[in-house]
């Protein structure tokens, strides 16, 4: 147990660095990049917390984890209690500790960040969650007595899981329906193994099963059954739709049908969910990237995940092609740095205008145009404009399109009395996440458009609160 230090002493301690696999080595394997804090480093890091009377970090966390309390428990050396404290508000601590953009959230709000560097909250969260998992003693919160009410959750991504966790604690009977064969949504098919090992996701799902949550895979709501049938035939009292934004967007340029052109969703699904990187043992193939030129179009986290996966599949050259400059990139800074360290080449201010293929219909190159930045657009980012006459071709074997996703229409198209907006996203009240259809709530990417894991989890919590109100009062 570490002794609390006076604040001035605490400020002198430097932020403890996260040990990681060496870039040259990790660029060719799917093992986790960040190795996690050792006990001593975690203890030292926890000492840096100023235990603010009015901790700003909690407000920065979309699910409101009691950060100060759990860090004090780390300081006291009670890592299991610290993990249990996080679980009161967050069903996936081992996941969020790894994939949250903490710099924009809890750590962005940390008072220490103003003058020094902020407390490494994400790394500490990850530390206690990993410690708890390795100890095998999971501190699951108590469930309230059964209410006899049934809730169906459509989609098992971060929004669905966090909603399911909260509702189960409140004593409701929760069933989660998932279209794919495994639970986890983007945690499983999207985020690669080297950032989020799938065994950790599976472990968290097992914990949720212990909380009495029923998971049903291979059920496509909208096809296997409709929302109305969930109420009428399966007697659910409320439904939460958390189907995500899983519809891939393409560039709509000539040659996009050539073999070797993928959506990031397809590429990552093949690599992560179907484990195509282990072709010795798994049957789902992926285009052979070994010694090939691979380019990913886009500048978000999905683009970074795709390009780093391509590197690990043996690409000779792996490029990011992005139409703005690095300053505008929506990807986390850490991911951009990791990608660069691993040898990814960044072609910023470039945009593809045509894919080129051979007579067999296989991609051989791409025609690019150079871009410059003009005036800021609605999003506040400077609008990219093509520079006339700057077109050139480069050889390319694999192109991965990671320019965003839209709303998958399956549920909406079979629920015609539920309101959607012009982009096909479900319309839900901002505060209550109620749709216009009685008993139906929606949240996460299917309402907001593609965002982050933790924002989706926040939406899941909000929905759980308002579903609970609805179930207890019957008022709509």
């Amino acid at each position: 147990m570490a002794k609390p230090l006076p604040p001035k002493e605490r400020m002198k301690i430097p932020r403890q660095a996260m040990p990681e696999q060496e870039a040259a080595v990790r660029a060719r394997n799917f093992g986790e990049v960040n190795l996690g804090l050792e006990v001593v480093a975690a203890e030292t890091e926890a000492q840096r917390c100023l235990s603010c009377a009015d901790p700003k970090c909690v407000g920065g966390c979309p699910v409101g984890v009691k950060i100060k309390d759990f860090v004090e428990l780390v300081l006291a050396g009670d890592y299991l209690k610290a993990a249990a404290k996080i679980r009161e508000d967050n069903v996936l601590p081992a996941v969020t500790g790894r994939v949250c953009p903490q710099e924009n959230q809890c750590e962005g709000a940390c008072i220490m960040g103003k003058r020094f560097s902020s407390l490494a909250i994400g790394n500490l969260e990850r530390f206690v969650a990993d410690y708890e998992r390795q100890s095998g003693q999971i501190g699951l919160p108590e469930r309230a007595p059964s209410t006899g009410k049934k809730v169906a959750i459509v989609g098992s991504g971060p929004a669905g899981l966090s909603c399911a966790g909260d509702l189960a604690l409140q004593g409701h009977q929760v069933t989660v329906f998932e279209a794919l064969h495994e639970i986890g949504g983007v945690l499983l098919y999207g985020i690669p193994e080297f950032r989020l090992p799938k065994d950790i996701v599976r472990g968290e799902i097992e914990n949720m099963k212990k909380m009495g949550i029923d998971f049903q895979t291979n059920v496509v709501v909208g096809k296997s059954m409709t929302i109305d049938e969930l109420f009428d035939e399966e007697a659910f009292d409320a439904v939460f739709i958390a189907t995500g934004a899983g519809l891939p967007q393409f560039l709509d340029i000539p040659g996009e049908h050539f073999g070797g052109v993928y959506s990031a969703n397809e590429f990552l699904t093949r690599v992560n969910l179907m484990k195509a990187y282990d072709s010795e043992h798994y049957d789902q193939p992926v285009y052979d990237c070994r010694d090939r030129n691979v380019a990913v179009v886009g500048g978000g986290n999905t683009a970074m995940d795709s390009v780093r996966s391509a590197m690990r599949l043996g690409a000779k050259n792996a490029y990011i092609i992005y139409r703005r400059s690095e300053e505008e990139m929506p990807a986390r800074k850490e991911e951009v740095h990791h990608a660069k360290d691993e040898g990814v080449e960044f072609m910023n201010l470039h945009n593809p205008i045509e894919f080129i293929g051979d007579e067999r219909g296989v991609l051989t190159g791409v025609k690019l145009i150079k871009m410059e930045l003009g005036e800021p657009d609605d999003s506040g980012r400077r609008r990219p404009k093509p520079i006339e006459g700057s077109e050139f071709e480069m050889p390319l074997d694999v192109a991965i399109i990671a320019v965003g996703t839209g709303a998958n229409p399956l549920v909406q198209s079979t629920t015609p009395d539920m309101a959607t907006n012009k982009w096909g996203y479900i319309v839900a009240d901002e505060k209550s996440l109620r749709t216009n259809k009685r008993g139906v709530f929606a949240g996460g990417d299917i309402v907001s458009g593609a965002a982050t894991v933790i924002l989706a989890m926040g939406a899941g919590r909000t929905a759980a609160r308002s579903i609970n109100d609805f179930l207890r009062t019957g008022e709509w």
Binding site: L180, V220, S224, M225, G259, P285, Y287, G361, V362, N408
Partner: protein
């Protein structure tokens, strides 16, 4: 897990499975498909639902062409399949059109069959043309006969029915001069393309069921995209049935060839494993006998 309640060979390398999948059986309509994964480590493959019953079973008919389908065809009654999801895709457009010609090539007949049943039920005059390389490969002859007003069997070698291609028979039917409201063709891509070329000059509405490579089957990845009327469409959610006169068959053929090398390697590994397993079994039997 989805138990196999019946596994029965229909022809060489072709097997019929009835699988207990109550949610799918309850909802499925003609033209829809499932995606299945046999076991952990397996890939996801699409297969059309040929039939369903009131006991919650669906029927699929599988031709062994690569690792997964050959593996599937080793399964027997009482075995299980890990994942079956569906029904997926849009259902066939069924209406009272008049005279409808249904063309099934090879195992494509299994896909054409449920739509033929639905078309007949809707009051259409159904002319079915079923083709295969030879008599041994012909499937569902009795079933197709029962649901058709007229059935023509075509074999490449003339070992059963008439000798020749389904397109030759189609031409004869067109040449009779009686109006044809719609043609539905399902089978190998070259066959579907040839049918489209026969009907195009006569402007007979022609529908084909496309078979691109799929992963999730729910519109999430676009791996199954096809060019229809110059536009990119996802066969798993927008199809699998499309207007044959709008489909770019060349792109479909090229995209279906993408993983040829991996498919060959995977099949070779599987056959080697099967061989070794068989050898071990026989050596065990030898040991027992001595």
């Amino acid at each position: 897990m989805f138990p196999i309640v019946e596994a029965r060979p229909l022809a060489r390398d072709v097997k019929l499975f009835r699988i207990h999948a109550p949610r799918v059986a309850k909802k499925r309509q003609a033209g829809q498909f499932v995606i299945l994964r046999i076991a952990e480590h397996g890939e996801r493959i699409p297969l059309t639902i040929a039939d369903s019953d009131d006991e919650g079973n669906i029927t699929i008919i599988v031709q062994g062409v690569g690792k997964t389908t050959k593996w599937l065809n080793t399964l027997e009654t009482g075995d299980s399949i890990l994942d079956v999801v569906g029904p997926l895709g849009e259902e066939s457009e069924i209406d009272t059109f008049g005279t409808v010609v249904i063309i099934g090539g090879g195992v494509g007949t299994a896909i054409a069959y449920p739509t033929a049943v639905a078309m007949k039920k809707a009051g259409n005059h159904v002319i079915s043309i079923v083709g295969s390389r030879n008599r041994e490969l012909l499937i569902l002859e009795d079933e197709m006969r029962a649901t058709s007003d007229e059935l023509c069997i075509m074999t490449d070698d003339g070992s059963h029915g008439e000798k020749g291609f389904v397109t030759e028979k189609l031409q004869q039917v067109i040449d009779r001069g009686a109006p044809i409201a719609r043609v539905l063709a399902i089978g190998p891509v070259p066959m579907m393309r040839a049918v489209a070329e026969r009907t195009r000059p006569h402007a007979i509405k022609t529908i084909v069921s496309l078979n691109p490579i799929m992963v999730d089957g729910t519109g999430m990845c676009g791996g199954c995209r096809v060019l229809v009327g110059g536009k990119s469409r996802f066969a798993c959610v927008d199809g699998p049935e499309f207007d044959a006169h709008q489909v770019d068959f060349e792109v479909l053929i090229q995209r279906n060839r993408l993983y040829k090398q991996q498919e060959t390697e995977s099949l070779a590994r599987f056959e080697k494993e099967q061989c070794e397993a068989a050898k071990q079994k026989s050596s065990c039997r030898l040991e027992q006998s001595t």
